[in-house]
Symmetry: C4
């Protein structure tokens, strides 16, 4: 991904506010859940991130905070940034070319991540394989592939979780030619983190992941073809 950074102007803020309204309406950012950021500078790293505890359906222009690479507020305000700011910083640092990061809380992501991370394990994987819609993730050009979405056990300790993310990302090369090794991760019974070169790409990734989560989860509730045949015969 070439480094295309969205400048954190009023335009960025209004675009994030529009995403809040949209994602609330689509059920992915209810209550005061979710947080969003855009990369405001790379040298040094600076992010514009949603302030803590705001209703995402009604973000005002003041509900954003600038933070440095360690999540400290740099704009002189007394607003607190989102509790999960450090994860945004970690992603922006580890994934080159990231221009925007979106974190959402959807029913399907919550349910699947809870179902697929065995209790007591620090992390697991949700494999999404064989769907045409995978091509909506940047750099994927065929359905004959899979996306292994990391699932991390939930915690309120962001330093600890950031460490686990660093550990898991350590073996990944986001600068290699071809598709990125991954496009997002889940926190179990909590939600999705995904990103993109700019806000439009990050928004598309949320939309694609949500579609795929719904398909994977609903497909599991369908009885196998053989069972359907048997059931139809029993009813007749």
């Amino acid at each position: 991904m070439p480094a295309t950074i969205a400048p954190p102007t009023a335009d960025s803020i209004d675009a994030l506010r529009a995403i809040g309204r949209e994602f609330h309406a689509r059920g992915w950012s209810l209550g005061t859940s979710s947080n969003y950021s855009v990369v405001a500078g790379r040298d040094p790293l600076e992010l514009l991130v949603t302030a803590s505890g705001k209703d995402k359906s009604a973000l005002s222009r003041d509900d954003f905070v600038r933070v440095d690479s360690d999540g400290r507020v740099t704009d002189g305000s007394d607003r607190r940034s989102s509790a999960e700011t450090l994860l945004h910083c970690t992603i922006a640092e580890l994934v080159p070319g990231t221009g925007a990061i979106l974190h959402t809380h959807s029913p399907w992501g919550t349910i699947l991540s809870g179902a697929d991370l065995p209790p007591g394990r620090p992390d697991g994987t949700l494999r999404i394989a064989g769907y045409e819609m995978l091509k909506g993730l940047e750099g994927i050009a065929t359905h004959e592939t899979h996306e292994d979405v990391p699932i991390f056990a939930n915690t309120q300790d962001m330093r600890e979780l950031s460490g686990r993310i660093r550990g898991r990302f350590a073996g990944l090369d986001f600068k290699a030619p071809g598709r990125p090794p991954l496009h997002g991760f889940l926190i179990a019974r909590h939600g999705l983190y995904t990103w993109g070169r700019d806000l439009a790409e990050a928004r598309r990734h949320v939309e694609i992941f949500e579609f795929l989560f719904e398909c994977v989860a609903r497909a599991r509730t369908l009885p196998a073809a053989a069972a359907v045949q048997q059931q139809v015969q029993q009813q007749q």
Copy 2:
């Protein structure tokens, strides 16, 4: 919860009307179901509550009634307050600091409350555990907790139900520091009651509970991970 009481001005009425339109559109207040109130005074207790039998998608400014702590109309009008007014009064009395109370009828709340209250029992419990979204309930700061939502058997006798609620709330200390002991309850195959210091908080609690009900119910329809593996292998 500090006692922040929303004054029952025209603003409150318009806010309740907006909630009616929103909750109808979201499928939580269909037909003439549901009723909403704000606390209009504390000494003596007075509530502003939706009038009986109104379509919640089209509440007019006249579709509200003032009642006293026993649910009697105090504004001299001949409008009848909602049949369940007494439950609003009971909650306002038992939960200190309550400024608004919302009662909704959603599919997931209806289904879960019916599934989890054993027949013949006067009340039961729906445990919601381990979800990040629990933090959307006032005072909850971690997912490593649970909310035990009381389920009461349905009845048309509001005095009797009010008595059961008083009995169940008797051992609870809503004034203790930290999180409230609970944020709402279900009536089986009927709906949800939740509340907040003000209307915005009560509305958020409805939204959060609905999300959690959907997650809990849908998660039950997913086969266990082991069964999924087996099914996938049989299909291949």
Copy 3:
């Protein structure tokens, strides 16, 4: 039900057009499915009914036809009334006080009616019991009751189906004091017919039935409480 008949003025037509837009958006009247009517006169019986084959999301003022008690066009136009007009006439004749009749095609109604009518049988019954939301059906004042919704096997022969409806309604007294013996019926794998004294009541009945169909169907997909316990234990 007292005989309150909505006059088939331009107001009625615009109200039916609004219902078409709403029901299309809610997924109950897709394609050119569904048809709606209001009673325009009682002596002799006359109905205003949607013309055949129209997209319900975009009804124009010309997409309505007046018909007599046998479904014949009486307004001198060459418009064809809906193929199912005769069922509207039959209902208007059999259920005294009916002012409006709405026929919709929803997923839940389609699925439940198909699941519950045994193959080869001319009719069956869907019992809906114990839900508070039953009170949204006119005259029902308690959840401690049930609505037995007739299910008729589908046919393209409206005279034959009308005959079966007459046969099933023959033993019912819609003039007895108290609640009506029923508020609607299903045609298997086809859709719902319901009615009301006026269009608002008929619209509410559609909304209430759809809510109840969704609850009944989704409740069946939840494993029994015992199975849930077992599954949770196996996963741990």
Copy 4:
């Protein structure tokens, strides 16, 4: 089907843009998925098709390309047509009278097509039988019928897939009197292709197929009537 061809004027383009906004909102054309076309000429065959990789919720008037019967751009622009353009050309060639072709990616179509095509097979069939809503497909006049929707294994090789479509359509007579032999097909874990004499008919076919896919899939998740009885008895 008589040859009614929608002229590819600005009106056609705006109609396709409206469909993009609608289908995105209904969850059938997320991300940059889906593509749409209208037949612009028959002698020689010319199509107006959506350009490659566009967000369907925000199509501009420049996001369309004219192509010939082999999918080559004929309007002198440097815009690339959709990667699946050749399938649109194949359908327009094989199905006489086609005026518009719509390709969508919905959850239910994705799941059902994946469930019903056995692994390793080049194609299969989804049978939809007995539903009244089948009458929404052009030329079908009774529910006592079935639509056998072909399912093709997915590929990124459009020439190869076009060949399989030609093979399967070889035995079908779209010019025979009566209903067409089929109205659309599925690509497994990918999406739906359907068409019509004009854009309105093609749009209706998408809507009808989506309704039917939802009914077929949800009906499979309902336990058989006997199992429901047993479960209810065990709970009591």
